[in-house]
Symmetry: C2
Subunit: 435 residues, 2 copies
C-alpha cells in the first residue's frame, strides 16, 4: 500500500488528538484513503513535557527544520494557534513543498489572502475544515456537497464558549461572571475569553463561511458584532417568558442589494432547532436555492471532534482530492477579490426586543409608545410586571416591548429618542429577534 | 475553461431538475468545478411530451445510442428508476466508458455488487449521493467528512413519505387511509406507496449507509423491518400523552458481537431532534468515536433537493474527486465481501410500548403484570383510561404499558403469552421505544 508521510507541527490538545487517530487507528485511515498515513514527525516546543500520546521513537522533535528538510514529508497538520509565528511557519512549510492542513481560523481570517495566494503560486494546498465548528464538517458541506446551490442564507451558533455560557445563564439563572468562571474550570473558556465572548471568534468564522458560500471577500472586522459579555440574566428570563431563548447568532443573508452579515445575541423562538442547541454544541442552518434548508448540529470544539476534522483533511489531501479544486476555486484570492458589498445596516429589516427601566408614573407608557409610533414601529407585545416585593410604586420597573418588523435605522433612532425621555431611568437594552 | 460533456438518461422529475441546474446555473457549476459542465444529451422516452425545461436544440433524443456512441460524453446522470432496464442501461453506459451518477437506491440495494465490481473492472466510477435522503449529503458526510471516525451508530428518518403520513396522523388525528390519500394528492406518496410505507425503502437506504459506515455488506431484505402501514392513530395519541412521538426509525448500532440493524415505528421522546422532524423531511444522527454526535436535517426528496445531490456528484465526478477513491474504497465489492454479522435479534435490549385491549374485570392487570414479571420485564408506566362515553364497564378498554429495558426475546415471549390470556380481547400492539 502506498504511504503518505505526515508531520504535525504543534502538539497541543488538538495535535495530540490527531496523533492518537493516526497512531491508534491507522487501519481506518488506510481504509478510507487507500494508502497509509504515516506520522513521521511531530514538532513540539518542549521535548521533556509529558503528553497524552505515546509517540514512537524518533517522531518527536523540537526542530521545525526536521520537517522542512525532509522531502518525504508531503502533508503537514499545522496546529499552532495565534498569528505569529503560525504565519511564518506556514509560509516556510508551503515554500518547502508541503501541503497544509490547519485549524487556525484567526490566521485565515487575518492572513488568508496572503497564505492562499502563496500556496497557489507554489502549487500547494491549504485545507481548513477544522477552522470552523470542529465537529460539523461545514466547510466541505458548503463548498462541495451543496455546490449545485446558490446559498441564500446561513445562520449559525458558531462559538461553543458563548453558547455554553448563555445556556448556563438561562437554565441556572446565574449571572455572567459566575458562569464564565465555571466555564473556565470546565475547560470551555480560556483564561482570557475575550475573543470568544465579544463576538470576534464567531465573526471570523462567519467571514470564512461567507467567503465559501457567497464568494465574498469579507474582512471579519467589518462585520457588525455584539457579544454576550454584556448580557443580563433578566433578558434571558423575560425572553423565555415570551417564548424565546437568546443565542449568539452569526447570520448571513444574500439579498439583491448586497450581503447582510452580523453577529449578535438574538432571540430565537423556543422549539426551533437553533433555540435548542445547548452548551458547547454548534449548529448551522444553510438555505440553498435547490436543496432548501439543511441543518447541522455537532460539537463545536474539543480535542477529538477537531482532530476528526483535521484527519479528514489529511486524508483528502493525501488522496489528492484537496488539490483538484484548490487552484480553480481561488479561495481567499488577492488578485481578484470579489469584495462583498455589505448591505447598509440601517436598511435591514427585523424585529426587536426592548427592555426599558421606567419610572412608575402616569403617561410613561404613552410617551414611549408615541416614540415607537413616530418611527413607524408597531408593537407585537408588551410585558410590564409589578415591582418586586418591598419596592414602592415610585421605584422604576422593567418594561419589555417586542416589536413587529422595522428597519434597523428606525429602531436605532427610536432607541436614542426613548433613552432621552425623562421617565427612562437607565440604558435601553435592544436585542434582535429571529422567528 | 475546460469542458466536461454530460448526458442525462431519464428526464422525469429529478432529471428535469438536473437539466435546469445545468442549463440555468452553468456559472455556479463552473465556479465550483473549475470547468464547464455541458449538457450535451438528454435521453427521453417520448420526444413529444411537454417538459418543464427548455432544452437547447439537439439535446433531447429518444435514442440511448446517441449517448453510448458519443465518446465526448464522459459523465452520465442515470436517472431511470426501478431495476430493469435501469440495470442493463447502467452496464452499457459503464462499458461505453462513462462515469455514472445515479439516484436509484433500489438498483444499488439489489445489484450494487455487480454494478460496482463492473465499474471497477472498467476503471469507471459510480456516484450515488442522491440515493439516500436527497437534501442531506449523508453519503459524502459518512464516507468522507467523518472518515477519521469509527461510526458507532446511525439513526435516521429516511423515508419522507412515511414521515409525512405519521406527522399528519399525529397532528390531525386522522386515520392512515385518509392521510395516504392526502399524501398522494400532494405528490408525497406514489399511486402504490407500498415500498415507502412497509419499510422497504428505508431498509434499502439503511443497507447503503451501513455499508459505508461499517464496511458491512448487508442484504436489505435481511434487515428486520416493520412499516407504518399498520399504525393506529390511538397509538400516536397515547404515545404523545406519555411524552413521545412515533417515527419510522432506521437504526444501526455497532456492538462487540455484531451489528444491529432495524427499521420500525419507534417511540421517540418529544423534544429530542428526531422527534421534531416533520412531514417530508429526513434526519440522520450519526455518532462517531472521535467526532461525537452529528445531526443532519433536510428535505428527504423532491425535484430540486435530489437534483442538488445529483449535480454535486456530477461536479465531483467531472473534477475527478470521485475517481480518486472509487478503486480503493471497494464499495459493494463481490470479490471480498465483508459480510455483516447481524446481532441475534433476541439478545437486543430495548424498551417497549405495549397496548392491549383488556376485558374490564378483576384480576386482569394482575395476570398481565405477572407475565411481564415472569419474563423479568419491569414496568416504567401504566396508563388505563376509563371507557368512552356510552361504553359499559363490561366493554374492553385499552391498557398501555411502557417497560424498562428488556431483551427482545423476553418481550416477544411475553407478548405471545399475554395474547393467550383470556382477559385479552385483541392483538397486542408492541412498539420499540428510544430515549
Amino acid at each position: 500500500m502506498e504511504k503518505t508521510n505526515i508531520a504535525i507541527v504543534g502538539l497541543g490538545t488538538v495535535g495530540t488528538g490527531v496523533a492518537k487517530l493516526l497512531l491508534d487507528h491507522g487501519d481506518r485511515t488506510s481504509r478510507h484513503a487507500g494508502r497509509t498515513l504515516w506520522l513521521k514527525k511531530a514538532v513540539v516546543r518542549d521535548l521533556a513535557k509529558h503528553r497524552d500520546v505515546d509517540l514512537p521513537a524518533g517522531v518527536a522533535t523540537d526542530s521545525l527544520e526536521d520537517v522542512i528538510n525532509d522531502p518525504e514529508i508531503s502533508v503537514v497538520a499545522q496546529l499552532i494557534g495565534g498569528l505569529e509565528p503560525a504565519r511564518s511557519i506556514m509560509l516556510r512549510l508551503l515554500e518547502s513543498g508541503k501541503d497544509i492542513v490547519t485549524a487556525n481560523k484567526a490566521l485565515l481570517a487575518e492572513h488568508g489572502p496572503e497564505l492562499f495566494t502563496r500556496a497557489r503560486e507554489l502549487g500547494r494546498s491549504i485545507a481548513f475544515e477544522a477552522s470552523v465548528a470542529g465537529g460539523i464538517p461545514i466547510i466541505a458541506n458548503v463548498s462541495q456537497c451543496l455546490s449545485a446551490n446558490q446559498i441564500r442564507s446561513l445562520e449559525g451558533i458558531l462559538n461553543g464558549t458563548s453558547n455554553f455560557i448563555v445556556t448556563q445563564m438561562d437554565e441556572k439563572g446565574a449571572p455572567y461572571d459566575v458562569v464564565v468562571r465555571k466555564a473556565q474550570e470546565l475547560g470551555y473558556a480560556e483564561a482570557d475569553p475575550t475573543m470568544d465572548v465579544d463576538g470576534t471568534d464567531a465573526a471570523q468564522k462567519l467571514a470564512i463561511l461567507a467567503h465559501l458560500a457567497f464568494g465574498a471577500t469579507v474582512d471579519w472586522s467589518d462585520i457588525p458584532r455584539m457579544g454576550i459579555d454584556g448580557l443580563d440574566p433578566d433578558d434571558l428570563r423575560y425572553s423565555r417568558q415570551l417564548g424565546y431563548r437568546i443565542k449568539l447568532l452569526a447570520l448571513a443573508n444574500l439579498a439583491d442589494d448586497g450581503l447582510e452579515l452580523s453577529v449578535a445575541p438574538t432571540l430565537v423562538r423556543i422549539g426551533t432547532p437553533l433555540a435548542e442547541v445547548r452548551d458547547a454544541f454548534n449548529a448551522i442552518r444553510v438555505v440553498g436555492d435547490a436543496v432548501g434548508p439543511v441543518f447541522y448540529h455537532g460539537l463545536g470544539a474539543g480535542q477529538m471532534p477537531t482532530a476528526s476534522a483535521v484527519v479528514a483533511d489529511l486524508i483528502d489531501t493525501a488522496v489528492g482530492r484537496t488539490r483538484l479544486t484548490f487552484q480553480t476555486l481561488e479561495y481567499f484570492s488577492i488578485d481578484n477579490p470579489p469584495r462583498a458589498k455589505l448591505r447598509d445596516a440601517d436598511t435591514l429589516v427585523g424585529r426587536n426586543y426592548f427592555r426599558l427601566s421606567v419610572a412608575n408614573h402616569p403617561g410613561t407608557l404613552a410617551s414611549i409608545t408615541s416614540v415607537l409610533a413616530k418611527h413607524k414601529i408597531s408593537i407585537a407585545s408588551v410585558m410590564q410586571h409589578e415591582g418586586e416585593n418591598g419596592s414602592t410604586h415610585l421605584d422604576p420597573v422593567p418594561l419589555v416591548i417586542m416589536t413587529h418588523e422595522a428597519t434597523e435605522g428606525a429602531a436605532r433612532a427610536a432607541t436614542q429618542e426613548i433613552e432621552s425621555l425623562d421617565s427612562i431611568t437607565g440604558p435601553v437594552v435592544r436585542l434582535r429577534v429571529k422567528d
